[in-house]
Symmetry: D2
Subunit: 460 residues, 4 copies
């Protein structure tokens, strides 16, 4: 901090509260990357000599190596990572080192570093999303004809293919991937050259820097460039939708692992026991992923409340932009990785699924439809079926376990072929409308998903 004007030293507490070194050290690589791009641009534009530019680039390269080797002399009295690197550069190069800051300011520099960091992490999220989608798709492929109760209101509704159920999550992830890809268009915009807030008197070339760091564009307005944090808000929102989707899947894993359902066995490697209850096999990972989703909501809310009502341009409040992103990043990366590994090893229990299908009157719709096919009006068919269900339930039997004569008491139109209609496998097979759970429809969906996964790997 340059304090020519100040007579007192900064209060000790101040240093601790404002010291951002811990948070910022993680940006060392991005800072060097941005500074090298800046130095090259300065040279190419003739703002400094080509030789000076080369000196700066290789000095920064040496600092990169020192940091990687752990030999970099970090100093906590130098406020942050940026000052540490600048100071070291001047130690290494003498007064040439000071020329690096020509035509830029701390405000545009930190904005670039954060954009580079966010962009790289979001790229990682994109790759992890695809991995999870692949794991789900692999399981779906193995369970095309596995039937389980489809629930609405957590009540048995109609039998569905397990593949169809799992692919519902793949569709959610696909939208998430699309949102991340579009967010990247706005993240990958270089703010360097905006300087403090007003641009600079040097003939800088911001687009050149954007190209150097692999971004698509440079900023359009210098005041916006140093004060905008949409590029943090947007991935935080994506994090919230991703983890919301994962929380739903984890809720189902937790439900399915409860022995009353018993639809799946948790791989031992993803379950934990209890210190006093020897029979316990707890779905901790699924619970943690479900719980951690809440952390991304908090991060998003923090960031929105942080920015609301801030006048232009840069305000120090914005230093707090990093923590919410870190927090969300740890959750998103960890949850995606772990869920992928767990899904890959998940063992489903088709027998218990089928048992639940058979005992939950999930074929009631089929009976109603059967009656309709016998020319009974829909409302009547619906009421007749309701009574048959009530009777079957009072008997502790499924509809398919009633005798023909019993069914005929509810409607004389019922004939022997009703039992084919009541077969849950047939009930699933019949729903072959596009996007439906019929085996043919699910096969088509699976093919489309696989085609997407293949093409998406290219961008990765």
């Amino acid at each position: 901090m340059l304090r020519g004007r100040f007579s007192q030293d900064t209060h000790q507490l101040v240093q601790e509260f404002t010291d951002s070194l811990d948070n910022d050290r993680v940006f060392a690589e991005q800072d060097i990357q941005g500074s090298q791009a800046h130095a090259r641009m300065l040279g190419r534009q003739g703002i400094i000599t080509q030789q000076e530019a080369e000196q700066l680039v290789s000095g920064l390269e040496r600092i990169r190596e020192e940091i990687q080797k752990g030999s970099f002399p970090w100093r906590s009295d130098l406020e942050d990572v940026h000052l540490n690197i600048e100071h070291r550069l001047t130690e290494l190069l003498g007064s040439v080192g000071e020329k690096l800051h020509t035509g830029r300011s701390r405000n545009d520099q930190v904005a670039l570093d954060l954009r580079l960091y966010v962009s790289q992490r979001v790229e990682e999220w994109q790759a992890l999303l695809l991995q999870l989608a692949r794991a789900l798709t692999d399981q779906a492929e193995q369970h095309l004809e596995t039937i389980l109760p489809g629930y609405t209101h957590l009540q048995p509704a109609q039998p569905v293919s397990l593949a169809h159920h799992l692919l519902a999550y793949v569709q959610m992830l696909r939208r998430d991937a699309e949102r991340l890809r579009q967010a990247q268009e706005r993240i990958r915009v270089s703010p360097l050259g905006a300087a403090a807030l007003a641009g600079t008197t040097y003939p800088v070339d911001p687009e050149e820097i954007a190209r150097e760091v692999g971004f698509g564009n440079s900023f359009a307005n210098s005041m916006d460039a140093v004060s905008d944090r949409d590029f943090v808000l947007e991935p935080l929102f994506c994090a919230a939708t991703i983890t919301t989707h994962l929380s739903r899947l984890c809720e189902e894993i937790i439900l399915w692992a409860n022995p009353s359902m018993g639809f799946l066995g948790l791989p031992d490697a993803f379950a934990t026991g209890s210190s006093i209850m020897p029979q316990k096999k707890n779905p901790d990972i699924a619970e943690l992923i479900r719980g951690k989703a809440a952390g991304t909501f908090g991060a998003l809310q923090t960031m929105l409340s942080l920015i609301k009502g801030l006048p232009l341009a840069y305000n120090r409040d914005l230093q707090e932009d990093k923590k919410p992103f870190y927090q969300a990043d740890v959750i998103v990366s960890g949850s995606l990785s772990l869920l992928t590994a767990m899904i890959a090893e998940m063992e489903f229990n088709p027998e218990k699924m089928l048992r639940a299908v058979n005992s939950g009157h999930l074929n009631a719709t089929e009976l109603a439809d059967y009656l309709v096919s016998k020319d009974i009006p829909f409302r009547t068919a619906h009421q007749v079926t309701g009574k048959a269900v009530a009777y079957a339930e009072s008997q502790g039997r499924g509809l398919q376990e009633l005798k023909l004569s019993e069914l005929q008491e509810f409607s004389p139109q019922v004939e022997e072929d009703v039992f084919r209609a009541l077969d849950p496998y047939q009930a699933v097979a019949r729903r072959n409308s596009p996007g439906g759970t019929g085996f043919k429809a699910v096969s088509d969906q699976l093919a489309a998903v696989k085609a997407w996964l293949e093409s998406a790997s290219g961008d990765g």
Copy 2:
């Protein structure tokens, strides 16, 4: 509600708590639109006869007219808008009316209605955003050479063009518009044909319906189609970023209207007085817009917490998806409209802006740069300037008001030409790097913005 199986009537309180008629009535138009598309598809696919399809379409048309005229017989004992319309249709058409529900369910029907509604409202937001961007651009065009203090940390930093300052907000709105456009790609996906959760046994054609209602796609997975609410989350996030941006602009309007700054006069039509303080002219509108932004954060948070941890497929919790969207819609539409009208009539006070520029030492950077141009190292120049500022401040004068001899006491290199360097108009003019505040750079930015506005009007 079909209650063939139930022996008791629904509890009175239940009806009130679950009654969604008030909220849903606003969907009448969307419900009719979706039902007409569905009826046409049923006819074209031969699921019902062409004649039946036409009867359904014209019956729905008559209901639309009844609603518009206010003659529709709403019944609150029929749970919601959908049942009201269905019931009326059967009154009008007899048993043909009942065929409308063939191959669909309440779950996919309400999802389509909500998607239609959200899509239409978001279209309105897009138009309103452009209007505000235009109003800001018009003001910018008139104030290219108006100079005001650019602040960082709310401290005077460097003088900037008012046009540049206003265009910073246009850039934010431009990103918002892009996000809305991309969100529409995911909103405009028809879920009809997903039925309850599993698809249907009828040979429906979901893509046909999507085309009929003007959507780009139909659903890929029926379980996802009835339970996904990303299409509400995403516009809620857009609402949060839009209103965050507006809150920043309104904070500045409030600050600028404070007499100590006095940078603008509120148009009388947008200010209010006080019941006991006759001198008051309060920026209520700006305060309300700033305040209401918080309501969109709450709406987003509500929606995220609502969905977290819900198992597939539809759960009744999702009925609560409408209120947050309504809440955000009222805020976004109202804020954009009102701010547009207020910006259009805003009268800026260039003299007070210039006075603040001259008294805030905003040309300190210029002095430092001047010294650097005289071959003084940057750090030294920075320190020298700091001392000169401290001296000027202690004198209650600006740097440009010091005598040459006084300036020379800080550095003998200072010469007569320093006063040109210290002129704020020149300071702005010099910052012509791309995206900077220099008049030439701002003119270029203005041209780009106007080109965007023109092209965007086309999509509208």
Copy 3:
């Protein structure tokens, strides 16, 4: 609005955006109550004559009657409920009516009205909380010896008394009730006499007004009095904890109503059917209560973001303080009422609960404890039990269904008395430590809860 200084009429949009009449009309009663207290104080202090005071009080009484009868001439061109009443008072009383506003301002007036309103609603919440606690306690009393699986991680852990399980929720509600009671201490503070922000030159007596409206205190600082909204934040937080607690109970109701568990039958009056699935009996009410909880989080978040960073004293942003409270009030009042009615009629299924207890190895801890009682070290006992559980599970049997000889293969110390240890009823009965699930301990807890309910009814 007093506009002596303004030359233009308020913009039409402005009126709509800022018009708070709809929200405020609900405050009519509080406004009259506060104004009557103010008028009496003015008379007693000699600021107006006793006769004038009486005229004001009875004029306000007449307005109260007009509003109750529906004959009050509401005018939407008069900004809000306060101006409507003032205007009507002057119509009725002539210039005496204008004296009502002596020594107060809109700022302290609206703060008092809102405090009165919030306080009355919170009183209602307190009563509704007790009702729900009573309904749960009544059910608990009937199910002291009903045994169900106690879950951790949604995995069967140890059998517990259903009474104990239900009383856990009563304990949560008890804390909620305590928080509401303490919040009332801070809500019931009268701000009247703070005027616009600085107090008044009239010899008003704020404590007198506080007494008149039944509040405990009057304000200590006029600037705080008109700008503080803690008294809204705090009940919003209480609303969030209350509905969070309800959401947990509703999650359990939803789980228990799933046929795989089948622990309870939803009273028909609180369940709904499906338009196409005749067997469905959906726990809509429990789902809605669970979902609506999210609305209170949003309301709290809105209110916090609204206030953050507002300078003293009143800012128009604060007009938005009512909507979040309304929103939360509807949710809290509705959820508590409905859940009380539903709990009262809930029918539990002890057989299915016992079946789940017997099949979930919930007596594994008992076996381990049994082995410890035979002097086997705890860790060894735990491991031995783990193996026995794995064996029993592979056999599809419960531990209590294994033969003595089979159990002895895991540990020769096992004897015939092991079967008494494995009996779940005994397992519950043994846990009689204070606050435990043992029948004696639960009886004690029940007695304490009933004593609290009795004493709390007194305050209500």
Copy 4:
């Protein structure tokens, strides 16, 4: 982790994701404190021998010393701090060490540790709150007769005493302190003895443990005891209100430090400069405190969303309860400490405050009141004053700077004594209603505040 039943090792990723050692290490002291209390109770109840109890207590004492000295052998393969300590205890004491876990479980143990930790941190908050209240009170005492513009809508409203303005914040802090004190009643409840969820078969004495650790009560219901996290939610809400209050004060510091207002000089030790703008003196600390408030909102939202919809009893989601509390603790403790130090050194600028008072027409209300005292009806007086203000503003003068003859043009009743009425010092002095800004009223308030501070220090 006890894995007798498991065949596979825990997946590597799982360990990292679930490893809570980093977070939990901070609980070492609380864990030892709780364990010592538990051991003593076990001895006193005869569950273990007195000698064993003493061995456990002194073994734990030794571990405490090892940790303090840094010689404790932390092992990251042992899941968390609790297992590390237990394991070390057994190393030190042999099989006696294993007896410590008798009659408790991990679930009640971690709940106690967290309650101890939260309680101790909240105690620290209480002390820090009082310190800040004292610093504000000290400043108030020095500025009783310093006058500044009181703003509403950030527009000058009426002059107020700076002491009054500062004491408004003390009143907010006083409510915050009261809330913290009441929250402590619910935090300081010991859950030990609840065991896994059902209580224990050992004759434990939970109240004894509560006394040992200095808590007021022990749990009433074991299922509630292990799953309730109200005791985290409530301090998080307090953190949100505290930091909201601080954010308001910091907003004012930032505004006042802007040179257009210039009401205060930032102590150099609490301001920072700029890397390229030598004149800058930025209120970074105030900005950071304002910004960090948003972090407490996020923490509260995270915690609410985390708990919503969780069934009883313990779920692993709850492991995420610590991070939000940490996050809020760092913000609350840091903000209170730093703001106290900054307030203590703040230098106000009474001249600039007075200048703003004189130029902002803040005496308009005085003119209106003066006219009313001359028997002009209030509404007329208000309108006349509005016109006089418009005239004065057009002249660039204050009302008090107009000539008598000019004032008389607006109302012939104006006489020479108007100038005394227009004097801002008199305007403040006259508002001596209880809680008003009059010097006498503020003196009374100051005395009451000091009495509270004195009495509160006793509890600390």
